[in-house]
Each structure stands twice: as C-alpha cells, then as structure tokens.
Amino acid sequence: MKRRQFNKAVAAAGVVSLANPFSIVRAQAQKLRVGVILPRSGVQGQIGQSCQMGAEIAPAVIKEMLGVDIEIMSADNESNVDTSRTRAERLIQEGAHVLVGAFDSGQTMSMAQVAEQRGIPHVVNIAAAPALTEQGYKFVFRNFQTAPDIVREGLSLIGELFQATNTVPRSAVFMHVNDTFGQAMAKGIGGAMQRLTQLPFKIVDTISYDPAAKDLTVEVSKAKASNADFLLLVCRLNDAIILRREMVKQRWNPMGIVSPGSPGMYEEQFTKTLGKLADYCISNVPWYNANAPLTKVVEKAMAKRFPKEKLHFHGLNVGFTFEAILVAADAFKRARSTDPKTLADAIRQTNITSKMMLGGPIRFNAKGQVEGIGSACVQNLNQVPTVVLPASAAKAKPVFPMPGYKKA
C-alpha cells in the first residue's frame, strides 16, 4: 500500500510540477469543477445527505438556466474537522476549481483555511459562525446568515408573530445546546434582547444542555419550574425530539415552542418521529421563497431525481447548497475562465437577483458575506413545515398559543 501511494504521489507530482504548483490548468476549460464537501456520514450524516441532493440536481438545472457545464466532485468529511481539511486538499489536487461546503462551522473553517492557502475560491453554503468571514480571507465567500443575523431576524419575526396573533407573552425560558452553534446563538440573543426593547417578553431562565445528552429530564423540569409563558429553543434534531417528548411526559404545555433560528424542528425526522406532537412548533430560519420561479424549477428537478423526498423538509439544505453552486457557475459564466483568481474576482462581482431563498439579491460585501438574507417563520402544521410569516410569503396563518396551552 505504501509503495503504491508512493508511485501515485510521484506520478501526480510529475504532472503537477510541470505547471505552476499553486494553480490548476489555466486553459479555456469547458467545464467548471465544483468540489462539494459535506458531512454525509457521522453525527451530521442526515443533514449532509440532505444538502447533497442540492448538489446533485445542480448540473442539470444550471445547464438549462445559464448554459454552462459544471461537474460536481463530492467528498464526505465524515462530520470531522480533520477529514474536512484533507478532503479539501484532495479535491484541489484532483482539479477542483471551486469548493463548496460544509454546513458545520468547524468543518467549514478547516476547509476554508485550505482554500485560502491554495488560492481556490470557497463558497460556503451553510455555516453560521461569524469568524468565517472575519479572518480577512480573500477567497472565502458565504451566502448564508451569520449567527448574529439569524438572531436578529429570528427575534424580530417573534415580534411579528405576537402581533399577528394578538398575544403578549411576558416571559420565556431559553434553552440551548451547548455547542459551537448554540453558544454563538446564545451570545447573539443576549445582546439582541437588550436592544430589541419592543419585544414584550423577558427571558426568565437560561438552560444550556449537552447536545449529546440522551436524558433531558432535569432540563425540562427546570424549564417547567420557571413558569415561563413560552419556550425559546436553540436545538438540533435529536435533542429537539427528546425535549418535546419529555415535555409531554412532564405535562408542560407552554404557549409555544419557538426557535429563533436553529435546525431540528422543521426536519423530516422530527415530524416523522413525533407525529402530531410535532405540530405547532415554530422555527424562524432562512427559508426558500415558495413563490420564486427558481424554487419551482428546483422543486421539479428534485421531484424527478428524488421522487420520495419532499422539498419542504429539505428546502433549507438543498436551497443554500444549490445557490452556492449557482454562485460559482454564474461567476464562471462571467469570467469565462477557471483560473482561481479570476473566478474569485468574478464571485466578488456577483449580483444574482433571481434566487430561491428569501431575501435580497446575492451580493458579497467586502468581507465576502452576503447581507440581507431573509428568514421566515416556519410552523409545523399537519406535520408539514409551513411558512406563516412574513405575510407576503405565507401559506397559512400562524397558530399561537398552541392548542393545549394551560396557564401553569
């Protein structure tokens, strides 16, 4: 095995050393090779596989839309930061012109470092840690909200929710996972609550819990004992399921369960496992615009390629992954070259108005961040995640407080 690797390395190096070691073949290439790195196995396997669908429908849809050829090179980072880095190196070695990935902030960071080092553009599909676009990198771009953005949008949507349903909850108990994402959100919420004085409620208790915890009895007991009007929750899928069940067991029926911006409650596994219990849970997250023409195109492509999957469960993952690849393809079309520096410059000039996700046009600021990505208030109704706010994109009216609410 060692010898074979050695020979491969020699051969590869022979080819690479003919050209400039830090760029790939500069010729007028016909195809854009997009390296997509996602956690398709490991702890985040489900989400990675969800995002992957967005990557797989991309070539056909983009060929029709923009007339350019793209080739997807997929790699699985196994939900692991180290593997993310080596996969990035690997894809670049195999000729990827641009990288897309990776959903988790830590994994995204390590591949971003490789991309920056090698001068290959990297378009982040989903990852919220602010640090990603604060490093002064010239090759890393993000078409997703940062944690502070998510919080700001999420909380303001909560305000809208109360207005739309004529309710005035006075207190909330804030529960959050104690990981990278949860902490970033908690920090954001702490700061935002001080500024958003028009919100009628105060956070009476904050309970953080281990994302890997199997038993959340104590946490829910504490939350119930706070007598808060509703539950403000930053969670992930598995803990959301455990929490919801535990709430039923402990007979705690607050006005609602609202996430200011986290995965979990809108995911397929949540409604599949909990059935009726999943209903009325609210997630304020970046979401797709059901009325946008691009959404309809993507939906059709998904139905053809993955007939068993419903877009409303995968909308966020598929949408942003698709948009990231769209950004790369759009830049390729304008740049007419696969030279990484040219591509990066072209990406910086991106201005895509016909998009799938809610919010303003895709335009990168000086730090490589898109501003103005919108969020929607998504409520599970009849076990389908449905947009209930903003009214312009809504498909149904929000229900708050949830039926079964008992003033404790």
């Binding site: 199997k214 104590v218 067991k249 596994q269």
Partner: protein, 289 residues
C-alpha cells in the same frame, strides 16, 4: 428551587440510575470475574437496544417480552465471544486486552451504522408518554417499568450467584484463580459462562434502556464509560455495589444538573470517579483486594 422540582428530579434520577445499575452489573460480573476490560460493553448494550427495536417494528413486541429472547441470545453471543476471541487474551498485558476490545467496539459501532444508518430509532409503546401522578410528583410510566425490570433482573442474578452451584463455582474462580483450578474447576468454561451471563444482563438492560432513550450507533462509547464509572464507584465484584453505584450516579447527575449547569452533569461523574479512585479504590461496597 421548590421541593416539587427537586423531588421530581431525584425520583427520575433514581429510576434511571437503577437501569444504569443493571447495565453496570453486567460489567461488574465480567470485570470482577474474568478481569477483562470490556471496552465494548456499551456497544453490546446498543446492539441489544437495536435488536429490541427490530423486534418491535416487526412484531410489535413490547420490550418486556423481548427480555427473555434477548437475554438468551446475548448469553450465547457473550459465551462465544469469550471462548473464541477473548480467552487467549487473559494472560496478555492489559493494553492488549484493551486494544482488542476497542477494535471489537469499533467494528460493532460501525456495523450498526452500516445496518441501521445514523438515524435515531426507538420503540413507541402505548404508555411511552404517560405518567403517574402521586401528589405533586409525576412518575414517568416507562421509566418506572424499566426500573422494575432492572431490579427484577438484578435479583435474579443475585439469587443465581447465591444459591446455585454454578454461581458458587464462578465466585470461586473470581476469588481465587489458582485455588479454583486446584479444586478441579474448568475455569475457562466458567469464564465463558460468566461473560455470557454478563452479556445477558446487558441485554436486559438494553430492553429497559430502549424505553428511556433513542438508540443511535454512537451511543455505545458513552455507556461504556458510564458503566466503568459506576462499577468503580460502586465497587468491583459487588453486585449490590453496581446497583448502588448506578443509583448514586443517576441521582448525583440529576442533582448536579439541577443545581449547577445541566451541561456539566457528566463532569460531576468523572470528578466522583477520580475521588473514588484516589481515596477508596475498592469502591463503596467492594472488598479491598
């Protein structure tokens, strides 16, 4: 911090602790007799849990009815594992044993991943989400039943070791390896038997645990560590010690979660382990070796 809150939390911790205790019991028996560091203990319980979910999905078999077939199946599995794989390692250095079981654990976890995928699975019995109300205390039905099963299984095991000839023979092997051989006991066979018993124990614990927790392939390592903490705190070679250790850890974690930060619960268990290792390495009820 009202009394109700504390009472509810302690009761839940108590019942969960009993199930932990049963799981640790299996390890205590194995570790205490065969002296093998079974680092695949949690993984074995995970396999049992998956088996129960499969039986439930196929035949709507309530986990409690799955207890007997699961225990029987795992007994055989454990026996074969010990006789076939582990026996030659008894005389090998500890790190070798450890690496062997780590390899076995890796294979188990990933074989489960291959077979079942990363999604969490569970059983949804009718009484899953119900609770008894006693005054201000809500007792989770499923948790109560699981705890009762744990106590029952532990009692059965205890009776076995106390009153049967085989049980006494196994205890002899544990107490004095040489002496047992001198008396003519086939120690290797008893080791395999013990491993089988410990595995059966773990299987029953799995049946109980699946009512409390959703199963994923990654569950194994967490429970392996927990089992070791309990066994050491409770005392090696003491069955009541394992149960007591389980309850202690269950309640302690619950209280730590309540009074300190819930995310620091496990820190408390490890701290306790360190203290016990330093000041009373034989555990609470173990004998000084």
């Amino acid at each position: 911090m009202s009394f109700d809150l504390v009472a509810n939390v302690v009761v839940a911790g108590l019942f969960t602790g009993l199930v932990y205790g049963l799981m640790a019991l299996g390890l205590s028996v194995i570790f205490g007799v065969v002296r093998v560091v079974n680092f695949a203990h949690g993984e074995m319980m995970t396999i049992a849990m998956y088996a129960v979910t499969v039986l439930f999905a196929a035949w709507k078999l309530d986990p409690f009815f799955a207890v007997l077939p699961a225990a029987a199946g795992f007994f055989v599995f454990g026996y074969l594992l010990q006789a076939g794989l582990i026996n030659p390692f008894i005389t090998r250095p500890e790190h070798s044993q450890f690496m062997l079981m780590v390899a076995v654990a890796i294979i188990m976890v990933n074989a489960l991943l291959l077979a079942f995928g990363p999604d969490a699975r569970n059983v949804q019995v009718d009484y899953q989400l119900e609770s008894f109300e006693i005054g201000k205390i809500l007792i989770d039905k499923a948790r109560l039943y699981a705890a009762l099963a744990a106590v029952g299984a532990a009692a059965a095991l205890f009776a076995f070791f106390r009153f049967t000839l085989t049980g006494k023979a196994i205890r002899a092997c544990a107490d004095n390896y040489l002496g047992a051989k001198v008396v003519g006991l086939n120690v290797k066979r008893y080791y395999a038997l013990t491993f089988g018993l410990g595995s059966a124990c773990v299987a029953v614990a799995g049946c109980a645990m699946v009512l409390l927790v959703d199963v994923t392939p990654a569950l194994g390592p967490y429970y392996t560590l927990l089992a070791f903490v309990i066994v050491i705190v409770g005392g090696l070679g003491s069955m009541t010690g394992a149960l007591l250790g389980g309850v202690l850890i269950g309640v302690a974690e619950a209280l730590a979660g309540l009074l300190i930060a819930p995310s620091a619960k496990s820190m408390f268990s490890f701290g306790l382990l360190i203290l016990v290792l330093l000041f009373r390495p034989q555990g609470l009820l173990g004998r000084k070796s």
